[in-house]
Symmetry: C2
Subunit: 203 residues, 2 copies
DNA sequence: GTCTATATTGAGATAGAC
DNA sequence: GTCTATCTCAATATAGAC
């Protein structure tokens, strides 16, 4: 076990430029527009050279997923351990770039088995982390755990973010701004409630 | 203005078979797997013939969208006017086939301007219908309209359905069954509350 | 280790046969 | 009105040059 191979700095930089280009294409034109040609054109190299760094297109998508997953899992862990867990979780979930990319990866995974497995692993791990933390948080927020189990709250956080971000980035006229503002207020109220309840316990 | 052209019954049947095949491919392999070749293979005809019925691939996607949209808009209208509006709305939203297809169309619309416009129109019209009805329903459910405005409730219904259906169809292990069951219970309780409140008013 | 010339397959679309 | 032969181009990928 020697861990992932080290690469020369110049190579590392090029790999990152390729992944940046791939993300850009996924966000602007959808995952289906990603090809060795489109990525190469964006970076300014020849198409077949992409295959030197990423032998297959699957590897390119996996690269995007892995580069995003690690810091995002860390950020989610930090959010869940912060003073306002739901509020910070929402801030992560409502990030248009990250959420749009995740939706694209989810869609691409539909017909790419290698990607599907990896996306599933990330989704499951993150969800487990959220549910674990929620099992104690739910009570602190003054919610009935029987009515709002962690699994539902986690699905709601992610799902609402999906809906709002996808309508927003597509430019659909569906009052998503109003909904986003309301969501923020709901979470703020929950955080206030939690603070009050914890004070009461301490006193 | 003569309305849409009538087609011979045999033609109509073939058009439907092509649209069925397209839906099937979208659901099983994702929208990106839809091509004149893949659709033709599934129906058992030659690839270029697909272009006779649907000149461009955009037309194929538009065909799928339009054939689905009309009955679904009607069904949503009926649900909103039913005895248990939220419950029936959820039953529609939680349908895996319909929701998965909508997600695929949403993704495909990302880089297909013609489709994008039509999807946007459908999304906006349906959302408007839901929000209109919710503006009176919210109070009947005993919810505070300032805290839970119609736009947020509509986004939540759709978003949670997105999240649960996509995890379910992809087979991701994220406790989506538990979440779906909890969602159903939450809505049942709301419906009960609405019935009780209406009785009180009538008496 | 880095990059290019090139092979192969499959895509969308059209002109024209039946 | 229905279907087919065929064109053009873009996709992934590999073998091999530098």
């Amino acid at each position: 076990m020697t861990g992932p191979r080290r690469r020369r700095p110049a190579t590392e930089a090029k790999v990152n430029r390729l992944l940046d280009a791939t993300e850009e294409i996924m966000l602007r034109e959808g995952y289906a527009a990603v090809s060795s040609r489109s990525v190469a054109a964006k970076v300014g190299i020849q198409a077949p050279l992409v295959h030197y760094y990423f032998p297959t297109i699957d590897d390119l998508f996996l690269g995007v997923l892995r580069r995003r997953a690690e810091p995002n899992v860390d950020r989610m862990a930090a959010a869940l351990d912060s003073e306002k867990p739901l509020r910070e979780w929402w801030q992560l979930a409502a990030d248009p770039r990250g959420t749009s990319l995740f939706v694209e990866l989810l869609a691409a995974a539909n017909h790419r088995p290698a990607l599907r497995e990896e996306v599933g692993k990330v989704a499951r791990d993150v969800r487990r982390m959220q549910v674990d933390r929620l099992s104690t948080l739910v009570g602190e927020y003054g919610l009935d755990a029987a009515e709002f189990p962690p699994a539902l709250i986690a699905a709601a956080m992610q799902g609402i973010a999906f809906a709002l971000v996808s309508d927003q980035t597509a430019g659909y006229d569906t009052a998503h701004e109003e909904a986003a503002a309301a969501m923020a207020r709901v979470l703020d109220r929950l955080e206030e409630r939690r603070v009050r309840r914890r004070r009461r316990v301490k006193l």
